[in-house]
C-alpha cells in the first residue's frame, strides 16, 4: 500500500501568542514541532505499510523551514517527504490550502491512501482533510480509530461519539485518524545519521497541473480573517484558611454569594 500522510509544522509550545495590535500570531521561529495530531497518522501509516508493504510519503505546505518537519517524519520511518513551498501559496485559508495539497497529491503520482491527523494545534479547523478528499474526488472518513487493510479497500472504524461504525472505503481514499489511537514511534537519531540523500522534494505552483494563481494563497481564500485575538482570561482566586469546617463555611458563603448554589 502506498500512503501519503499530510503533516504540518506548528509552534513548539501550546502557548500561542497573538499580537493584540496587529492580530498576527507571534511565531517563535526557533521553536516548532510536528503537529502532535499528525504523529498518530504517521504511526498508523507506518504500521499499515509494515503489514502490507509499500511506501509512506509525507506531504506538507509551508515556508522553507517546514522541511524540518518532513525530515522528522523520515527519522520516524517515512520514506520521503514533499514540501509544497511557494510565496504565491501564502496566506491560504483551509480551502486554498486543500486546493494546493490536492494539486501536490496529483503531482506525486499513484497513491492508495491519504492519512491525515484530526486537526492541527495552531489552526484547529479540522477541515483540510475532508476538503482535500472532496477536491481529489475520493471517499473519506473522519474520527477514525483504526484502519485495517483489505484487497482494494480499507476498513475504517469511525467514532460517532455514541457508537462506532465500521466503514469500508474503496481505494484510493482519505482517512483522518483520531488522537491517541496508537503510541507514535520516536524519531531515530541513527536513521537521521544514516540518510545519504536529501529525502525532501520541493514542489511549487509551477509543478501543479492547475497553475491558475488566483485559486491559491490569499487570492484563492474565501475566508477573510477580520481579527485574531486571545480570549480575555479572567482569574479570580480566593484562598480559604482555617479548619476544614471553617473553610467549608466560607466556601458555602462564596458559592451562595456567587449564585452557584441556592439554599434549600
Amino acid at each position: 500500500m502506498d500512503i501519503i500522510v499530510c503533516v504540518k509544522q506548528v509552534p513548539g509550545t501550546t502557548q500561542v501568542d497573538i499580537d493584540p495590535d496587529t492580530g498576527v500570531m507571534r511565531r517563535d521561529s526557533a521553536s516548532t514541532k510536528l503537529n502532535p495530531y499528525d504523529l498518530f497518522a504517521i504511526e498508523a501509516a507506518l504500521a499499515l505499510v509494515r503489514e502490507t508493504g509499500g511506501s509512506v510519503r509525507t506531504l506538507t505546505m509551508g515556508p522553507p523551514q517546514a522541511r524540518a518537519a518532513l525530515l522528522e517524519t523520515v527519522w520516524m520511518g517515512a520514506d520521503s517527504g514533499v514540501l509544497v513551498s511557494d510565496r504565491r501559496l501564502g496566506g491560504a485559508d483551509v480551502l486554498a490550502t486543500a486546493r494546493a495539497l490536492a494539486q501536490a497529491a496529483r503531482a506525486m503520482g499513484r497513491y492508495d491512501l491519504i492519512l491525515c491527523g484530526k486537526q492541527t494545534t495552531d489552526g484547529d479547523t479540522a477541515q483540510v482533510g475532508a476538503e482535500l478528499a472532496e477536491l481529489l474526488g475520493i471517499p473519506h472518513a473522519g474520527n477514525v480509530l483504526s484502519v485495517a487493510p483489505g484487497e482494494g479497500f480499507v476498513d475504517a472504524r469511525v467514532s460517532l461519539d455514541d457508537r462506532d461504525e465500521l466503514q469500508r472505503l474503496p481505494l484510493p481514499c482519505l482517512v483522518c485518524v483520531d488522537k491517541n489511537i496508537n503510541t507514535p514511534r520516536l524519531p531515530s537519531y541513527f536513521r537521521k545519521k544514516a540518510l545519504a540523500a536529501d529525502p525532501v522534494t520541493v514542489l511549487t505552483l509551477d509543478d501543479f497541473p492547475d497553475r491558475d494563481e488566483r485559486r491559491y494563497g490569499l487570492s484563492g481564500s474565501p475566508t477573510q480573517v477580520e481579527r485574531t485575538f486571545s480570549p480575555e482570561r479572567a482569574e479570580h482566586r480566593a484562598m480559604l484558611s482555617g479548619d476544614p469546617e471553617e473553610a467549608a463555611g466560607q466556601l458555602a458563603d462564596l458559592l451562595l454569594a456567587g449564585k452557584f448554589v441556592r439554599e434549600v
Binding site: 527519522w75 496508537n182 503510541t183 520516536l186 524519531p187 531515530s188 537519531y189 541513527f190 545519521k193
Partner: protein, 465 residues
C-alpha cells in the same frame, strides 16, 4: 525504654492545642497510618494529629517530651523502609496539612515551603515561574518534608545532585519543643557545624521540619531525552561507564529491562513507544539552546552506537516526553502490581561498578530461583532492585529474602557501596547499615541522636537504634 501510653487527658490536650476534628484517637486513625508504601512493618499510632503550624508542633513536642510519649512525623507515607511507621505507638504528627508554598524569592533564587507541599506541586510551581527544582524522585506525590528527611535523590542527580544540595535553610522543632532556624537564604556557610545538613536525611529522628528554604535554578531552555535500546542488559550497562568517562553531562542515565516496560504498559494501560528490545538506557540532556543540546546528545548517541545501541530515539517534545517519562515514574508501582509481595534494595555503588553489581543480581536470581527485576539511576550508581515473592510460601519467602539481602549488601560493601542511595534506612535496613558501619560509627550516630533527643521520643527505633 518504656514509653507513656496515651490517656484521655493526653488526647484532650492534643485537641486543645489543635482542634478536635484534627485529632484522631485510637480507632479513628485509619489503617493507612499503620504502614508506608512498601508495608514491610505495620504498627498503629495511638493518636494522629493533623498539625497546621510550627507552634502546634512545638507545643505537642514539648508535652510529649515531658511525658515520654513517642512521636513520629509523617508526610504522604510514600516511604519504602518503614521510617514513618509508629513502631512504638504514641503520637503521629501528620504534616500533610502544612502544604503552603510561602514565598518565591527571585532575588535569592529560593522558594520557601511548608513540609506538606508535594514534590509534583513544587515542580509545577517552579516550572510556571521559569525555574527548575532539580531533585526528581520517581514518587511525585511524596511531600517535600519526606524528601528532605530521606535526602531523596531522583533522576537528575547525575548532573544536579540530590535534595541536600537544594536545602538552604530549615525551620525545625527539636524534641523539647524549641524552634530553631538552621541555615537560611545564604549561598555559602562556614559558620559552625552544619546542623541543617544533619537534619537532612535524618528520617524524622532528630527534629521535625516545619519549613524549608529551597534553592531553585533557572529552567534550562531545552531538554531532550534519548531512549537507547540494546540487545542485552550487559551491553546496556557496560555502556554506562563509557558514557560517564566521555565527560558527557546528561542530567539522567536510567536503565531498565523490557520486562519492566511490559509491566508498566499493563499497569498504565498505555503502550510505550518502543518495547521490542531486551534492555534500555534513557538519558536526558539539558541546556540553554537546541544546538548545544543536540551536539551533546549526538556525541553520546554516536558513542553508544559503537557500544552496541540498536537505536537512539529522540524525545524532544512535550507529547513525546509524556509517552516515556510517566511510564518511567510508574515502574515501582508496575513491578509491585506484577507480584504478590516484594521488598526492595536501594544500594548505591561507585558508578564504575554498576554493571558488575547488576550482573551479580542476575546470577543471584538464578541461584535463588527468584525473580529480581531492577531499574534505576545507572548514571549515579543508585539501583532499585526488587525481590518478588510471586508464588513462594511464607517460610521460603522469608529465607530467600534474607539470603538475597545479605548477599547483595555484602557485595555492595565489597565494591565500596552503601546500603541506601535515596530511600533511607528507617526500620527495614537498620541491620545492614549497622553491619557495614561497625560499632564505633553506630555509637557516634547514637551520641548525635542523644544530643538532639535525650529522652528518645522522636521516631524511636529507627536508623541507628
Amino acid at each position: 525504654m518504656t514509653y507513656h501510653r496515651l490517656t484521655q487527658e493526653d488526647i484532650a490536650f492534643f485537641r486543645s492545642v489543635t482542634a478536635p476534628q484534627r485529632v484522631l484517637a485510637g480507632e479513628e486513625a485509619g489503617e493507612d497510618y499503620f504502614h508506608d508504601e512498601l508495608g514491610g512493618v505495620r504498627s498503629a499510632p495511638e493518636a494522629v494529629v493533623k498539625v497546621l503550624s510550627t507552634g502546634e508542633v512545638s507545643r505537642l513536642l514539648a508535652y510529649a517530651n515531658e511525658r515520654r510519649i513517642p512521636v513520629v512525623p509523617r508526610g504522604a507515607g510514600t516511604g519504602l523502609v518503614g521510617a514513618s511507621v509508629a513502631v512504638e505507638g504514641g503520637l503521629m504528627l501528620d504534616l500533610t496539612g502544612m502544604d503552603r508554598i510561602l514565598e518565591l524569592d527571585g532575588d535569592n533564587l529560593t522558594v520557601t515551603v511548608q513540609p506538606g507541599v508535594l514534590l509534583m506541586e513544587l515542580a509545577a510551581f517552579a516550572d510556571e515561574h521559569g525555574f527548575l527544582y532539580p531533585p526528581d524522585p520517581g514518587e511525585k506525590s511524596a511531600t517535600i518534608g519526606g524528601n528532605i528527611s530521606t535526602n531523596a535523590g531522583g533522576m537528575r542527580a547525575v548532573k544536579y545532585g540530590v535534595t541536600r544540595d537544594y536545602v538552604r535553610g530549615l525551620t525545625v522543632v527539636l524534641p523539647d519543643g524549641q524552634v530553631m532556624e538552621l541555615g537560611g537564604k545564604v549561598v555559602k556557610n562556614s559558620s559552625g557545624y552544619a546542623l541543617k545538613d544533619l537534619i537532612v536525611g535524618s528520617e524524622g529522628t532528630l527534629a521535625v521540619i516545619t519549613e524549608a528554604v529551597l534553592k531553585l535554578v533557572p529552567k534550562p531552555a531545552v531538554s531532550v531525552s534519548l531512549l537507547m535500546p540494546f540487545d542485552t542488559m550487559d551491553e546496556a550497562l557496560d555502556a554506562v561507564p563509557e558514557i560517564v568517562r566521555s565527560q558527557a553531562a546528561p542530567t539522567a542515565i536510567e536503565y531498565f529491562a523490557r520486562e519492566t516496560i511490559l509491566f508498566a504498559e499493563d499497569y498504565l494501560g498505555k503502550r510505550f513507544p518502543e518495547d521490542t528490545h531486551a534492555a534500555y538506557l534513557l538519558l536526558t540532556f539539558d541546556g540553554a539552546g537546541p544546538a548545544q543540546v543536540e551536539a551533546e546528545y549526538s556525541a553520546t548517541a554516536d558513542l553508544c552506537q559503537v557500544l552496541g545501541a540498536r537505536d537512539a530515539l529522540i524525545i524532544d517534545t512535550d507529547e513525546r516526553k509524556d509517552s516515556v517519562w510517566p511510564a518511567r515514574g510508574a515502574f515501582l508501582e508496575a513491578i509491585k502490581a506484577s507480584t504478590t509481595e516484594m521488598d526492595e534494595c536501594d544500594v548505591v555503588v561507585p558508578r564504575s561498578r554498576i554493571a558488575d553489581f547488576i550482573k551479580f543480581t542476575h546470577r543471584l536470581a538464578e541461584e535463588l530461583n527468584v525473580r529480581i527485576p531492577s531499574f534505576g539511576h545507572a548514571g549515579d550508581g543508585n539501583l532499585h532492585i526488587y525481590i518478588c515473592r510471586d508464588a513462594l510460601e511464607q517460610g521460603d519467602w522469608e529465607q530467600v529474602l534474607e539470603t538475597a539481602f545479605d548477599r547483595m549488601y555484602a557485595r555492595a560493601a565489597e565494591m565500596g557501596g552503601l546500603v541506601s542511595g535515596e530511600h533511607g534506612i528507617g526500620w527495614a535496613k537498620k541491620k545492614y547499615m549497622a553491619a557495614q558501619y561497625g560499632p564505633e560509627e553506630m555509637a557516634l550516630m547514637g551520641r548525635i541522636k542523644a544530643a538532639f533527643d535525650p529522652n528518645n521520643i522522636l521516631n524511636p527505633g529507627k536508623v541507628c537504634q
